[in-house]
């Protein structure tokens, strides 16, 4: 019987050690927020590290309190007998460096100071975020790990397999890419511009102000949401229906349901996310190139030792199947053990957070021999 994980607490690891970033800058110390589900085996070889997407957090499964209305972001995938079976595996989820849900980011206080980083926070990369996760895994005593993630989390999984080939025995990359296309960077750029040009942004120093860059952040989220859905999904959900009216008002307030939906998504997001974090994390995603712009992708994969599973979704146009296939083809060329599935779904990029049944079947059969 599939069951949910019960109540879990987010934990915090304080690392009193300098982190040298890819840019050459440093963070003197940092905190990692994380949750774990299941038990680490004696051999310390049954760990799965799941990495969240752009705006996720460490809370991947279960509830933090009985009264919570929602479960963690990948609750359907993590738990007893689920895709990531906590009867067998020790599942770890951490908040990304630069985030705003417990791990050090621009909204954190500088060490020994009551001043927040704001834009003094150094620009981080996906590679940097891996170092932070590695610290956490070392702390937890994990020797071998299966890495998995969707979207940005998939990039992190991929980077793990490249950076720590000895550690990673299996790598699951879902709805992701080895590098963003110009189009995807463009969408992120619009989002960042919306934040940067918000009159309340104040060069990132808005934390102690009454006025927050809410409008900018909301617009960034709206743009993002358009890319997470797809034309059919939007058409089916909203078509050209009006929002609580029969005819337009001939002004610039909300007429259509789709406008109201985006407004709502923007508003909800502002309550839980930090505008500076959005800048830093989208930048990290934009900068990521598994081949570092120098090597060919298959050359990059030569040193990997993991068994790979790559999955894409038919209607995902943010990280389309062709980008997953690019990873797969490079792995084939590098003579690596790779499997690939393209899952039929009407849900666009969001499918990795919605299509649980097929994903579960595929992941379970892929992990079979590891379990």
């Amino acid at each position: 019987m599939e069951k949910n994980i019960g109540i879990v607490q987010t934990e915090y690891l304080d690392v009193k050690e300098e982190l040298i970033l890819q840019s050459g800058k440093t963070l003197p110390e940092y905190t990692v927020a994380y949750e774990t589900y299941g038990e680490l085996s004696e051999a310390k070889d049954n760990a799965i590290l799941v990495s969240h997407a752009l705006t996720g957090d460490a809370h991947a499964a279960g509830k933090n309190a009985e009264a919570d209305s929602k479960f963690g972001w990948w609750n359907e995938m993590i738990g007893p007998d689920k895709a990531f079976d906590t009867n067998k595996y020790f599942v770890i989820s951490s908040n990304i460096l630069g985030g705003c849900s417990g791990t050090t980011g621009p909204s954190s206080f500088k060490p020994n100071s009551n001043e927040r980083y704001g834009l003094d926070f150094p620009v981080i990369t996906i590679e940097d975020t891996i170092e932070v996760q590695k610290k956490l895994l070392d702390y937890l005593g994990v020797k071998k790990v299966i890495v998995a993630g969707g979207s940005m989390g998939g990039m992190q999984a991929l980077e793990w397999s490249i950076k720590y080939p000895e550690c990673v025995c299996a790598c699951i990359v879902i709805a992701s890419t080895s590098k963003l296309s110009a189009q995807s960077i463009a969408f992120n750029a619009v989002g960042r511009n919306a934040i940067l040009s918000d009159p309340n942004f104040n060069n990132g120093n808005y934390y102690d102000s009454q006025k927050q860059p809410e409008r900018g952040l909301a617009i960034a989220r709206m743009v993002g949401h358009i890319t997470y859905l797809c034309e059919d999904a939007m058409q089916n959900k909203f078509a050209r229906r009006f929002q609580n009216k029969d005819k337009p008002d001939f002004d610039f307030n909300v007429d259509f349901q789709v406008e109201s939906y985006l407004e709502h998504q923007g508003q909800v997001f502002v309550d839980r996310f930090d505008a500076n974090s959005y800048l830093y994390i989208t930048k990290a995603v934009d900068l990521y190139d598994a081949a570092q712009g120098v090597y060919s992708l298959d050359e990059t994969f030569k040193k990997t030792k993991a068994k790979f599973l790559v999955m894409s979704f038919t209607t995902d146009w943010l990280f389309p199947t062709a980008q997953s296939k690019e990873i797969v083809n490079a792995l084939i060329k590098a003579q690596k053990d790779v499997s690939f599935c393209e899952i039929e779904s009407p849900c666009g990029h969001d499918a990795f957070l919605l299509e649980f049944e097929t994903q579960t079947k595929i992941i379970k059969s892929f992990l079979g021999e590891h379990g």
């Binding site: 797969v328 053990d337 059969s365 079979g368 021999e369």
Partner: protein
């Protein structure tokens, strides 16, 4: 029963192909279905294998066997695979279901040093008799479908395949002719093989 409704003779087919493949070879199995043959090759011949399959349930069944498997349509070509990258490319019981069969064969010969291709022989005497006397599209255990729902869109005969290879300068290295449970590697003439073989396995190369 596999996806083409076959079960009879499949085991025989699998062991013949397993005998053909050399130990430790690099194998690409196109249209590998649930991966039974590839898993057998990995187990018995220690091959380094990868499968390509279009049907998702079959992909999952192959994953369950611990195989490396790519979901994809072989009619779209084998672009992800480099020239002569595999010792063997297999197209078992799938040729007649491909849309661009000639292109698929070209691609296999590009990617593989040797190619194994098997198909039901449409000139098998029972099929001829069926068409001759019944006047309807033949059905058999090997070809169980009706004309309107069959995946077998490019049915061919042993003689058609000989002609095809001759025209394209493809070498036939080995041929195995099968009836229900018998294997013949040396029919006296081509006529006999074309008439009596229900299913045929060819090893070809460029």
């Amino acid at each position: 029963m596999d996806k083409y409704g076959q079960s009879n003779g499949l085991r025989l087919n699998y062991s013949i192909i397993t005998d053909i493949i050399d130990e430790g070879a690099k194998v690409l199995d196109l249209g590998c279905g649930d991966g039974t043959l590839l898993a057998k090759l990995v187990k018995e011949k220690l091959v380094k294998g990868i499968g390509v399959e279009i049907n998702q349930d079959s992909v999952i069944a192959s994953l369950e066997k611990g195989l490396s498997i790519i979901q994809g349509d072989i009619d779209a070509g084998l672009k992800e695979f480099g020239d002569r990258e595999y010792d063997w490319v297999l197209l078992n019981q799938t040729l007649q279901t491909t849309e661009k069969s000639d292109y698929v064969i070209d691609e296999m010969l590009r990617v593989g040093k040797k190619v194994v291709v098997s198909f039901p022989n449409f000139a098998y005497w029972k099929i001829r008799f069926h068409l001759f006397f019944m006047g309807k599209m033949p059905k058999s255990k090997v070809l169980p479908f009706s004309w309107y729902d069959t995946p077998n869109i490019h049915l061919l005969t042993v003689n058609d395949f000989y002609d095809f290879c001759k025209k394209r300068e493809i070498k036939i290295l080995k041929s195995v002719f099968m009836t229900k449970a018998n294997v013949k590697t040396n029919f006296v003439t081509r006529f006999f093989s074309n008439f009596f073989a229900e299913e045929v396995i060819f090893v070809i190369s460029k």
